[in-house]
Symmetry: C2
Subunit: 339 residues, 2 copies
Amino acid sequence: MKVTIKDIAKATGLSPATVSLVLNNRPSRIAEATRARILSTAREMGYRPNSAAASLRTNRSYTLGLIIPDIQNDYYATYAKGMEDACAECGWNMIFCSTNNSPTRERQAIEALFTKNVDGIALVATPSKDDENDFIANRELILSMKTPLVQMDLTAYKEPINAVISDHQKGGYMATRHLIALGHRKIAFITGPSSLEGSQSRLSGCKKAFQDNNLPWDDGLVYTGNYSYASGLDGIDYLSDKDFTAVFAFNDLMACGVYCGLEKYGLAVPTDVSVIGYDDHFVSGILSVPLTTIRQPIYEMGKESTRILIHAAENPDAPPVVSKFDLKLIVRKSTRKIR
Amino acid sequence: MKVTIKDIAKATGLSPATVSLVLNNRPSRIAEATRARILSTAREMGYRPNSAAASLRTNRSYTLGLIIPDIQNDYYATYAKGMEDACAECGWNMIFCSTNNSPTRERQAIEALFTKNVDGIALVATPSKDDENDFIANRELILSMKTPLVQMDLTAYKEPINAVISDHQKGGYMATRHLIALGHRKIAFITGPSSLEGSQSRLSGCKKAFQDNNLPWDDGLVYTGNYSYASGLDGIDYLSDKDFTAVFAFNDLMACGVYCGLEKYGLAVPTDVSVIGYDDHFVSGILSVPLTTIRQPIYEMGKESTRILIHAAENPDAPPVVSKFDLKLIVRKSTRKIR
DNA sequence: GTGAAAGCGCTAACAG
DNA sequence: CTGTTAGCGCTTTCAC
């Protein structure tokens, strides 16, 4: 039989109220002796709090929900890990929901999290153009429930909202500047979906780097991908009859596809073509030609998300916070001076 | 204000009990008219069940706990995804806990899951020799609470226990046989930690393949790794002064390390050395030389784990089940006939 | 310093 | 076919 707060009250000859007070070490002047007695008998009897009961009473669950497209993707997994580690530090828990980018499943996840009374939700989504409205509706739903929400990389909203973001425009700028500094002038870009702010920002950073260096921009060298390995390959197919000496893939997975695509056309990295990625996915370091990339502190962003959510849960009236993170250029072997 | 079952009872002029009955569509003959009326007003009023209350009452949470070493590892992430997808199909949820292989954190995770009243726990751990006792104690703890438990790949236990396992002896055998069939005789092995049953089984499969082909076994060609990229590198360092024509790394991550290590010593894959891995990690297919490997149906094992747990939760007296999964040899470019 | 009592939202007998 | 009632385990005034 499970041992309850009542049981230990009976065992110590005290009341449930007193027991509750010390078990949650609430500020209340309870004799040091009784306090110790309660603690020790609780341990002896193997008491374990029942969070359902506490949650019912207090409307707090000390649990955060995380909604991501796909836990198998290293990028999201790293974010999740950051969130979870920060939760563990504070004794909180996490419920994970993968949506596979389906707005319907996202909706279900949100409903489930409400039902489970989570104290906050981290939402990361990469909606396609078609799903954008559904996605916005989902966000509104969370907001309407007054559940603290933090978003990654999607800030555009009529009212301010908690968010963790990297400065992707700067990231795009840094990558392009690196290539330009190496002497490249004909640079191809394989972007993410055009509906994603993060991808658009990167692209505008690229253009800015061209402007700042008085170089002509060529829209023909831009291929719109979707952040998948396959779309890196597709990008090279598209570019195969074009003239370029470097490729900037907007994430590392696509850069891997670019490697493979270039090989197909008999082009070597970095001898014939320089390649730069984005994210610093863990494979980037163990590729045959280690990939130069822009590192996103995604783990730290996860940790920060947890902090923001816990803070918001404990301070309902706190204003929204937007945490901006710095990107870093990691130079490895896939980029080199043009011949 | 949150709308409760009482509110909708009041609104429909019925009792909370009736409302509860139809909202959970319990078998009870309630007039189709009232049923419809309840359902529609519930929708109108935006009713959302409070699982804390239900859980308090029923001791069921429709939530499963997953305890893994590291969510960032593709192997565990895939397993987690399998579990989660299967949960989503049934409207269940998951709480994730990463332990970073620390028995203490594992213990905390278990306590947290108890407190949260999960209906089942999937435990996957790769304890080192030192931590083995702690790990066993943790397992006993779960069992002692009568919470359904399913383990991956660890079956040795005094009593039968729910488990999903691959036949690693067969896997080791298959990989080695493949190499032998290609003419290799001097094969090096980079194993997992010796405390892990999965690694031991693989190794015994390797030995069996040697026996069956009347080949002499050489312990000097066995390096004990720890499933990390770095230990693949270390393995090659250890082997650098030995004579071998093929390497079997007990997982793909170590095989990646092997690639890098071989390159360091000026050896090409597969021209000079054939390499075979294990798991079919997603990188294996996108490496410069795609890796031949033994594929574990880890996603399916995750799904099955969920099924086992849900079944056990709903049938407390059901006997433990052990689901065995088949491995598959995936031949890519990293193995070839010996010259 | 400590206890009594009420109630969070829901479900499960049992009664009608 | 539907309603009454009694809690599940915990927290929280308020009273002593």
